[in-house]
């Protein structure tokens, strides 16, 4: 056959094109997934350091200083400076974190014996020393680390204070608890508002809404709200909650309100899908024994739709938890040195804290930022985990 050869050549060509295309598609997936791994990996490596603190073991003899347990900051600080200078030379005090005197005070209160006999105490290293001990720092700090290492005074430990502390200007003392509590308070407001309103609106649209222009308008509004950029909600919060209603600035109450308006459409959309999935025969069954429409709704439809609604709610809350921009607009970017105690106290939230730390020039904040990101991602991951678990349980039952 004459045409066989060109045909075979052409087929080879086409098969090669097929392989190339397939490879390109695979490469796209690998590239995207590779980016996920790269991003999470970078954060994990950087962030892991943020959970570790460098400690300096300081030999101390308080008897000579004549300290008592009830002394104030000045005397404790002086005692530490004195001990540090004696142990590590002129630059000794600079190797210790600000606020070390509180550690000493607590140690003395716990073990009054320290006051009368020589001992030693583990104190957090200052930020430059911490940075230099973990990777490369300034020449002065590197020299200090070399000196401390030679003296055998450096050790490492897990920085529990990071999880329990509040924001601070010194990176080794900065913690995320205040931001975490701010997030918690804000999300509580969001949940309390968005969940009931979202569920009731979904019920109205699915069970009652007549097919008319008004209903269409409500539906279009909700679908559009779900796609409006989050920063626009921030502008709304600024203009209405702060500008018109004069609610307190920087408060979890206002943050929660703003995020609730953002989360509500998500809950409505998820809720409607879940309600629509309830078989109509259940409604018939309840109506036929004389249940009113409201009884049908609350006794039968809502319980069956609840897993789907909860899944949507958790995903919506997860989005709200990761949201930054609208909260910047309503002033939740203040420096918060103490955890907020209520819904109207000035507060910040975890993502905003990350944003604020990322802006810091101090190198010590780089790893703190990544560590805060790890905390945020772990929270988000567990929320999605719960949502997926709920969804699967729900699907298995049907």
């Amino acid at each position: 056959m004459n045409s066989a050869a060109p045909l075979a050549a052409r087929r080879r060509q086409r098969n090669a094109a097929e392989r190339r295309f397939r490879l390109a598609a695979l490469a796209a997936v690998c590239l995207s997934l590779g980016f996920v791994v790269f991003l999470l990996g970078t954060m994990a490596v950087e962030g892991a350091r943020g959970f570790v603190e460098t400690r300096v073991t300081l030999p101390i003899d308080l008897k000579a200083a004549g300290l008592t347990a009830t002394d104030g900051e000045a005397r404790f600080a002086a005692a530490i400076d004195d001990a540090a200078t004696r142990a590590f030379g002129r630059n000794g005090p600079a190797c210790l974190a600000e606020g070390s005197w509180m550690h000493l005070r607590d140690a003395v209160r716990q073990d009054p014996a320290l006051l009368v006999r020589p001992g030693s105490i583990e104190l957090p290293a200052s930020s430059p020393v911490d940075v230099a001990a973990k990777h490369d720092g300034t020449p002065a700090a590197e020299a200090a680390v070399a000196r401390l290492t030679a003296a055998g005074a450096l050790s490492r430990g897990i920085d529990w204070a990071f999880l329990t502390g509040a924001d601070a200007t010194d990176p080794v003392r900065a913690g995320i608890w205040s931001a975490l509590k701010g997030s918690l308070l804000t999300l509580t407001v969001t949940l309390l508002l968005a969940f009931p309103i979202g569920v009731l609106a979904a019920l109205y649209l699915e069970e009652y809404a007549p097919r008319n222009r008004w209903t269409d308008f409500i539906e279009v509004s909700i679908n559009n709200l779900a796609a409006v950029p989050s920063i626009i909600f921030g502008l709304l919060g600024l203009a209405v909650f702060l500008g018109t209603l004069h609610l307190p600035r920087s408060a979890p109450l206002v943050g929660g309100l703003t995020l609730a308006l953002m989360t509500m459409p998500v809950i409505v959309i998820a809720g409607r899908n879940a309600i629509r999935a309830v078989p109509p025969s259940i409604r018939d069954a309840a109506l036929a024994v004389g249940a009113t429409p409201v009884q049908v709704m609350f006794d039968h439809v809502l319980p069956l739709a609840m897993p789907g609604i909860l899944t949507g709610t958790i995903l919506g809350l997860a989005r709200a938890l990761g949201e930054t921009a609208p909260l910047l607009m309503i002033g939740m970017r203040a420096f918060i040195a103490a955890a907020p105690r209520g819904f109207t106290d000035p507060a910040t939230v975890l993502p905003v804290q990350i944003f604020l730390w990322s802006d810091q020039i101090d190198r010590g904040f780089v790893e703190k930022t990544s560590a805060a990101i790890i905390v945020l991602l772990v929270l988000l991951l567990s929320m999605s985990g719960i949502a997926i678990w709920l969804r699967q349980r729900f699907e298995a039952r049907r």
Partner: protein
């Protein structure tokens, strides 16, 4: 209409512009079983659903004519549809128990109508209904199990128990056996025999033998009209109308 439990006068039903039921009139007395037969789409189920206003849930359905329950107009504004449906119970084609316990399924109707003052009252009502539905002996040890774990035939009897737990006056059954096997079907038919006299029963069925077995009177519907309504024995042995004869002898349907 002295002893009529339910009576329909010139009833027509429209879905939008389509006429689904055309000028139907009939009386149903309190101690009989009436069967509705006819080809698919003849309107027998639609007519059944107008009797307890289940058609209200269909957005564009409209009913003309009057339906009287004990002489009260079912479609009158003063009629409470909740009360109506409690008095006229319904069993559906596909068993549709709630995804709740067997006990909760039966107790739902009495509890929303406040028929039981105490837990003991409720226990008695539930047991009574399950006994009358012939299900008690099979489920008395697992009242907390979900209603959906029962077999199809048991589920349908549970639905019947659920309907009779509020002690209705009429029970409407919309092809209650079409999703069941022959043994379960026989069990339901037996049950219908036992319930007769206590409740007026209207049953829609596709199965002419079933109509012949369970009913005293039979109505034959075709194309939305009531073609013939009379004693079951007459309809099946000696129908007046040619169309009825054609249908029951299997010429069409």
């Amino acid at each position: 209409m002295t002893d009529a439990k339910l009576s329909a006068r010139n009833v027509s039903v429209f879905y939008g512009a389509t006429r689904a039921i055309d000028d139907v009139s009939m009386d149903i007395t309190r101690d009989e079983v009436v069967a509705f037969i006819g080809p698919s789409g003849c309107g027998k189920s639609t007519f059944l659903r107008t009797l307890n206003r289940m058609n209200d849930t269909v957005a564009n359905a409209r009913v003309e004519g009057t339906i009287l329950l004990d002489g009260e107009d079912v479609y009158a504004p003063a009629m409470d549809v909740v009360e109506l449906r409690a008095r006229v119970g319904m069993v559906f084609q596909k068993p549709n128990p709630f995804a709740k316990s067997i006990y909760a399924n039966v107790a739902y109707g009495p509890s929303i109508h406040g028929l039981a003052r105490h837990r003991d009252d409720m226990d008695r009502i539930v047991e009574d209904a399950l006994r009358r539905a012939g299900l008690w002996d099979e489920v008395k040890d697992r009242l907390d199990a979900s209603g959906t774990t029962l077999s199809g035939g048991q589920q349908q009897r549970l639905c019947i128990a659920r309907a009779i737990a509020v002690d209705p006056e009429v029970i409407l059954m919309d092809e209650p056996c079409s999703a069941l096997d022959p043994i379960a079907t026989a069990r339901i038919e037996e049950l219908i025999h036992e319930l007769r006299g206590r409740y007026a029963i209207v049953i829609v069925t596709h199965n002419m033998q079933q109509a012949a077995r369970v009913s005293q009177r039979t109505a034959f519907f075709n194309l939305g009209r009531l073609v013939e309504f009379g004693a079951t024995s007459d309809i099946f042995t000696n129908p007046v109308e040619e169309r009825t004869k054609d249908y029951i002898t299997g010429r069409y349907g």
